[in-house]
Amino acid sequence: MPTRKADSAELEQHRGHLLKFAMLQVRDRAAAEDLVQDTFAAAVAALERFEGRASLRTWLTRILLNKIADHLRASGRHVSIDAHAAEDETDGVEAFFQANGRHVETPQAWDNPEAALSQSRFFGVLERCVEGLSQTAARVFLLRELMGFSVEEICKELCISESNCFVLLHRSRIRLRACLEKKWFT
């Protein structure tokens, strides 16, 4: 068994991801830092309950999600994810495709996208684009792409169906692709 001290150091490796996730969900840096701090405190207190069935990051993210839900509820911004998902009958990509299924705006070629990855300004643009998604779509997308959840884990955690999850991921990718093209690659 690893020692408690090693575990704390291990927790720290996930701070950057947790902070980014919290910031993109509550959109307030100070509040996000507090939420991550609370998450670490709760995690350290409950470390012996971590069973290693999920990854450490997944476990920490679950704690953080509860803290974020409490925070949003307290500030009156809580949206029930079930209610939100249930009212979403369409796939939300109508604006991007014509009735015959063709693109409304043809995706353009991006000049050297890899180069963007070495520019911190690009990541600022990416974050603004993520903030343009609905709270639910952003949450599903960030759990998948930032926190490394599987679709199965997302469905279980957020109580949404797999088909709803695929729809929200597609919608997020379509919107983010278009947003990056407009805000960075033109």
């Binding site: 950057g16 991801h17 902070l19 980014k20 796939d91 990509v93 991007f96 495709f97 015959n100 299924g101 063709r102 693109h103 043809t106 995706p107 353009q108 070629a109 991006w110 996208p113 890899e114 963007a116 990855l117 911190s120 690009f122 990541f123 990416l126 974050e127 998948r144 792409e145 930032l146 679709v151 999850c165 695929f166 991921l169 597609h170 990718r173 379509i174 983010l176 692709r177 990056l180 093209e181």
Partner: protein
Amino acid sequence: MMPSCREASRLLSDRLDRPLRFGERLGLHLHLAVCRACSRAEKQFDFLRKAMSELGKHR
């Protein structure tokens, strides 16, 4: 049958989250062979995943 751009887009997204069935893979492959726009979207969805995996390292 050949999928539309809309259907191809959905498959390009889905395959990042689940293995596609044989028929889906075949349809997508046929579509990408003749559609430059969706071939771009394919690369860009992959790039988006890569960019998101880097985002956590940026404070």
